[in-house]
Symmetry: C2
Subunit: 377 residues, 2 copies
């Protein structure tokens, strides 16, 4: 039986599906989907395509017009995954459009996560006589934009830490030997993390050892246009100038983070090839909190850390990791001197160690994937 | 539709179910179940209860007698999980009973794994005019007795290595702090490994750190009677004489394995409390291959290793582990000096590292369990 609630959920579900079409390409905006309904029929729908282009609500209204449904817009109901915007950004506020188009009812899922705007559209719309139903599939709608939700509140990136290791937590033998084979499914999942990220970060040892390209290799053209910034932690400015991240055609997307004490001549040379960011030390390593602040200011909403053991540990120990994605290969390396996926100084007390919640396990071929959120208390 | 094949499988499945009733208590014999059928009706059934008591076939025949079905036995079909025995052990060979009782047909699953007896019963029975159908659910029947199948061929124990660790492969912080919390389901699964094992092995550091009792805590009386031998690897004879495994009422089930160079006075004192086994060194550690030989001679079919990181690694590095059961708690300890679940010297080449097959993943509450077989090539 269809209740009003189930009908609302059905359209919000469709709006969620539409929103996801732009996953990874709207930053620094959230992904949003919208469906316009009149008398039980969809008269228009759309989603936010990318920053600078119209918001989902406007896309849905324009879609209705394109389909010859202009006359049906007044009195219709708009379903949208996120509370409509109430401020002027690159585009005028959507609440104005909703009111001007005489839309009768707005049903939305997630409340605007920006504490300055949260609930504001609801008030403006209600005051203008538009009916508002909020909180429909709120959790699902909110979880569409974990990075945006974090960044808009904290002004720092949402950190996803990805690592692939053996079942005993290692990534190479003591001699550094590693023949990593993860299956196609695991690789695809890992590549999708790059798609939803604005920047990827590794330590310089990873660059020296593997000379990775750290790019997003999407299949579709729209995806391959994804500009993924590359951040290399390199306190002593040891990065080889012939590294791929320094020399390839995306070098303008590379930032090497060095310490204030790094050799000036080396830094000068490096600056002719890529961006260099100087940071002070804190607790014996580059000040990651300051780095997060700077990346946040630079519109890095989602940061993917694919570091070696010490880089990974530095992020855990600085309590900066929000989500982990670990892949386990069905092998056991053994050895107290083998290369660990998470090394670092470690925590002095058991109570301080990161704990995981919302844990998802998934078998991917012979590999195992764990995807979870991180808590520090 | 019931085909003759599906009918055979149905009765073998019942025999498998019966066999499992004695899991963990028949050593050094395998678990075996049998069902006696006449004209589509079960006239008797049974399973091997424990070493020295009748085999499953005899139990089924006796059951038929008890139920007043003696007259129905001649001309019946017996379904049994394992090829009937053809040699005199503690009891006379079952093939004789089958022939004497004029049973018409024998259907069995697994072939006798002992290379000296394999297929012998089939020949004896066929020569005596009894119809034999073998290999019904062969894999399932064979997998009932992994430890027996290994021991009867190699004369050494089947080694199950169990460890509980964090997602980064650690068991304690660098300072040794560890507040291990695995859920009820994980604990029950781990306890069942003790049930199916004849001996449990740890390193002396585990005894010093945790003073464990290393007993099987079953619920039913028959299970609590389980005699689990306790093996402590202690090359330098450092075990405290007030340890639980030395002083409790099961001390006669404790064997401390020391090196030939261990302090003679300490060894003498220890020998007044528990069994002491002296072993030579090999590759810088106690000769585990020799230990396996001695335990095999002593009817240890299944050995459960619950060592710390170095004991675990020693078994992997000696290529002795047949099955691993790893539990992962949703935590990340970090730290290059944290205590590792698998430490040791490690392998020098990637090609030598143990690989897993037949991998089973299972979520147990918030913990993850991995149960798999180990390959070394």
């Amino acid at each position: 039986m269809q209740t009003p609630e189930s009908i609302h959920e059905q359209y919000i579900k469709l709006a969620i599906k539409l929103a996801k079409k732009a996953e990874g390409v709207t930053s620094p905006n959230p992904i949003v989907g919208a469906v316009l309904v009149k008398d039980g029929k969809i008269i228009g729908s759309g989603y936010h395509h990318r920053a600078g282009l119209p918001h989902a609500e406007i896309e849905a209204i324009n879609d209705a017009r394109r389909k010859g449904n202009s006359a049906l817009i007044p009195g219709s109901t708009i379903y949208v995954t996120l509370e409509p915007c109430s401020t002027h950004g690159k585009t005028p506020p959507c609440v104005n459009a909703i009111i001007n188009e005489k839309i009768k009812c707005v049903v939305y899922g997630a409340t605007d996560p920006n504490p300055l705007h949260s609930g504001r559209a609801k008030k403006i719309l209600t005051d203008a006589g538009v009916q508002v139903i909020d909180g429909v599939l709120a959790e699902e709608c909110t979880s569409l934009n974990p990075a945006f939700n974090h960044w808009i509140v904290h002004k720092t990136p949402y950190v996803i830490l990805k690592s692939a290791m053996t079942l005993d937590g290692k990534i190479a033998t003591a001699s550094g030997e590693s023949k990593w084979i993860t299956g196609e499914k695991a690789r695809r999942y890992a590549m999708n993390l790059r798609k939803i990220s604005d920047a990827i970060l590794v330590g310089v040892n990873t660059v020296i050892a593997d000379n990775p390209s750290l790019t997003y290799r999407g299949i579709k053209r729209i995806e391959s246009m994804k500009k993924l910034r590359r951040i290399i932690l390199d306190p002593n400015c040891r990065i080889p100038l012939n590294s791929t991240v320094v020399t390839d055609r995306f070098s303008s997307f590379t930032t090497v983070v060095v310490s204030e004490n790094a050799d000036a001549e080396k830094v000068r040379k490096l600056q002719t090839c890529v961006n260099v960011l100087k940071l002070p030390f804190r607790d014996g390593r580059l000040d990651l909190n300051l780095l997060m602040k700077k990346l946040g200011e630079d519109n890095v909403l989602a940061l993917l850390v694919e570091g070696g053991g010490n880089t990974n540990a530095a992020f855990f120990e600085s309590r900066l990791v929000n989500r982990v994605v670990f892949f386990y290969a069905p092998k056991i390396i053994c050895g107290r001197d083998a290369v660990k996926a998470v090394a670092g100084k470690g925590f002095s007390s058991w109570n301080e160690i990161p704990k995981l919640r919302n844990i998802k396990f998934k078998k991917m071929g012979d590999d195992l994937m764990i995807d979870a959120l991180v808590s520090y208390d």
